[in-house]
């Protein structure tokens, strides 16, 4: 009954949407003046400038501390500042992790106009990763910093499990880009587990998830960074080939294992003696085979699979859902309209115009799902190949893709505590 009433009212509304002045402006005889109401506008541009300056400053401090001074302490200070400022004070929006979506959308669709601040938030940490490694992750990212600050112990998962779990950030990234370029949703923002904690309110399920992650972060370093964060995955590509790199020690490694235990993100690979004896040429042949047979197969399979479910994926788009509702309503009209349909008909929408939008979105989804599927195949393939390729290492080595440049390992390396002149 109530819904019916609303429907009637909204029908009324639909007709009269432009007839605004049902009642004429009053002629006041008492000399009444309209109140002068102004609405407060915060100094957003100023704050954004502060954000960017602080971002660069903090990343420079981390780079200086871990590459030049080779100490961990300033990184802790940076983490605290970042959690307080970017996290709690600025409530974490727009963050670099989410900016991936804006960038993807801007690259795919040139009607979307990217704010310069978002571009800087995206590109500066990437640039720093390219120069100095993941110094953004070390303590400038409020989410990483928060996990770092609560971390006490570093229980490690098995190598295979870790490698498999490390695929999730990539898949998350691929889906985030897919949904961003089709203007469906920004899933990274929607499922951000820490924003609720920073804002001290919000979706209860996500806050709970964030709290769980933090509890896990006490016992094993940075679970979100390692197994979920899509931006970290992107940064790892650049950190892998960065110009300057973190070194555990400048002196020769004595294989004491202490740094390996200290690293929160399990980025230090232990020495490994390859037991399988195969000739070099045979080994190379095997790997080449992986790349020319196995990898293309994975890519193809991924692409086909994702393309076949593209219309299911497209239901994440609001217009697609609306179209489905309208089609359903046209085929079996109902008395009580949903709020969406009410608004649709109220605005004078026609199914033809909507169908055009719908077909456009479906086309986009088919194209981008195929790409996404190919990428997922590529990531899976690389992970599997990575698991089967063994390389002999004589000493402890940093895997720079995973290293977050926190500098914790420095303090643990006994070689570092030798006196300076013994270098």
């Amino acid at each position: 009954m109530k819904k019916l009433l609303i429907a009637i009212i909204s029908l009324l509304f639909a007709v009269t949407v432009n007839a605004q002045n049902r009642f004429p402006k009053p002629d006041f005889e008492s000399g009444y003046q309209y109140p002068d109401i102004t609405y407060q506008v915060p100094h957003e541009t100023a704050w954004i400038t502060v954000d960017i300056i602080l971002l660069v400053l903090l990343m420079s401090i981390v780079a200086w501390a871990t590459l030049k001074k080779r100490t961990h302490k300033p990184v802790v200070a940076v983490s605290i500042i970042s959690v307080a400022y970017f996290g709690f004070f600025r409530s974490g929006c727009v963050c670099s992790i989410g900016s991936v979506q804006n960038i993807a959308l801007a690259l795919a669709d040139d009607t979307y106009i990217l704010p310069l601040s978002v571009l800087l938030f995206f590109i500066l940490p990437v640039l720093f990763a390219f120069l100095f490694g993941r110094v953004f992750c070390a303590g400038v990212c409020p989410m990483g910093a928060l996990q770092e600050l609560v971390n006490l112990k570093n229980y490690k998962l098995s190598k295979t499990v870790t490698a498999m779990l490390r695929m999730t950030p990539w898949i998350y990234l691929i889906f985030a880009i897919l949904y961003a370029v089709t203007r469906s949703s920004f899933i990274i923002c929607r499922f951000d587990p820490f924003i609720g904690i920073f804002r001290m309110g919000g979706d209860l399920g996500l806050i709970l998830f964030g709290a769980l992650l933090l509890v896990a972060a006490v016992f094993t370093g940075r679970p979100f960074c390692r197994f979920l964060c899509p931006y970290g995955a992107l940064l790892s590509l650049f950190a892998q080939v960065s110009i300057w790199k973190v070194q555990i020690t400048k002196r020769p490694c004595i294989n004491c294992e202490l740094c390996h235990n200290a690293c929160p993100v399990d980025a230090i690979k232990p020495p490994y003696d390859n037991k399988i004896k195969e000739t070099r040429i045979k080994g190379v042949k095997r790997i080449v085979n992986y790349f020319i047979v196995f990898l293309p197969l994975m890519i193809f399979a991924g692409a086909v699979l994702m393309r076949s479910i593209s219309s299911n994926l497209s239901r994440a788009n609001k217009d697609v859902r609306l179209y489905d509702m309208v089609v359903q309503h046209e085929s079996a009209p109902q008395d009580i309209l949903s709020l969406e349909l009410e608004a649709f008909y109220g605005q004078g929408g026609t199914i033809e115009a909507l169908a055009e939008i719908y077909n456009g979105i479906q086309k986009d989804f088919r194209l981008y799902s195929t790409f996404a599927g190919a990428l997922i195949g590529l990531v899976t393939g690389f992970t599997l190949i990575g698991l089967s390729v063994k390389r002999t290492r004589k000493q402890y080595e940093i895997d720079h893709a995973n290293c977050v440049a926190c500098g914790r390992c420095f303090e643990y390396c006994p070689q570092n505590s030798l006196k300076q002149n013994e270098l």
């Binding site: 009212i9 009324l12 509304f13 009269t16 949407v17 605004q20 002045n21 049902r22 009642f23 402006k25 009053p26 006041f28 008492s30 009444y32 309209y34 109140p35 109401i37 609405y39 407060q40 506008v41 915060p42 957003e44 541009t45 929006c93 727009v94 963050c95 979506q101 801007a106 690259l107 040139d110 106009i113 990217l114 704010p115 310069l116 601040s117 978002v118 571009l119 590109i123 640039l127 390219f130 949703s185 920004f186 923002c189 929607r190 924003i195 804002r199 309110g201 979706d203 650049f238 892998q240 080939v241 110009i243 070099r280 190379v284 709020l339 009410e342 608004a343 649709f344 109220g346 605005q347």
Partner: protein, 189 residues
């Protein structure tokens, strides 16, 4: 990794790959930032979430879906559009028997609309923003029966400028979009 490269030592090959990787990464950064920077300069970007009052159908989700505990959406009153009516469609419920300020007669569930007598028969209406929860009930009443001077808008001083406004993802009418700096506020005048 062809066969003639195998003659080099693995170290040299790794170095070569590393340099190649650096070049690709550096090139990618330069081209993406250059291209996007060029476009960012050309047009003013849209950053601020605002409601288009002409489109909004007062579905009620503004009250419930904002990420803030109390929505950043508030009712705004355009005095210059208002008819200053005694029987205000936004102030009283549609089926009131007596025009007095008893709570059961009032549209606003939180009593955020205050009215003041101006002169016969006119009343001035003001929104007490600290009480308003953005439910839009009054807006519905005013748009249906009055001049439409009450409308919902995202308050810039309260809004967190989420990268994706959570209300926009569920807004029944698609009224919430990003606007450029000089278009926020979208006010009715």
């Amino acid at each position: 990794m062809t066969n003639n490269e195998n003659k080099k030592s693995p170290i040299a090959r790794r170095k070569f790959l590393q340099t190649l990787g650096s070049a690709v990464a550096g090139g990618a950064i330069l081209s993406v930032s250059g291209g996007l920077m060029y476009r960012a300069k050309r047009q003013e970007a849209t950053l601020y979430w605002q409601i288009d009052p002409q489109k909004c159908t007062q579905c009620g989700r503004c009250e419930t879906h904002c990420v803030l505990p109390i929505s950043a959406v508030k009712c705004i009153h355009a005095n210059k559009v208002c008819g200053y009516c005694d029987l205000c469609g936004g102030y009283y419920r549609s089926n009131v028997k007596e025009l007095n300020t008893a709570a059961e007669n009032l549209m606003c569930p939180t009593g955020a609309i205050e009215r003041q007598f101006v002169e016969d028969p006119y009343f001035e209406y003001t929104i007490n923003e600290s009480l308003c929860n953005g439910c839009g009930k009054c807006v519905k009443g005013c748009t249906s029966f009055g001049n439409g001077s009450l409308y919902l808008q995202i308050k810039r001083d309260l809004c967190k400028d989420c990268n994706e406004c959570k209300i926009a993802t569920v807004c029944a009418s698609g009224a919430i979009t990003r606007v450029a700096f000089d278009m926020a506020y979208q006010l009715k005048e």
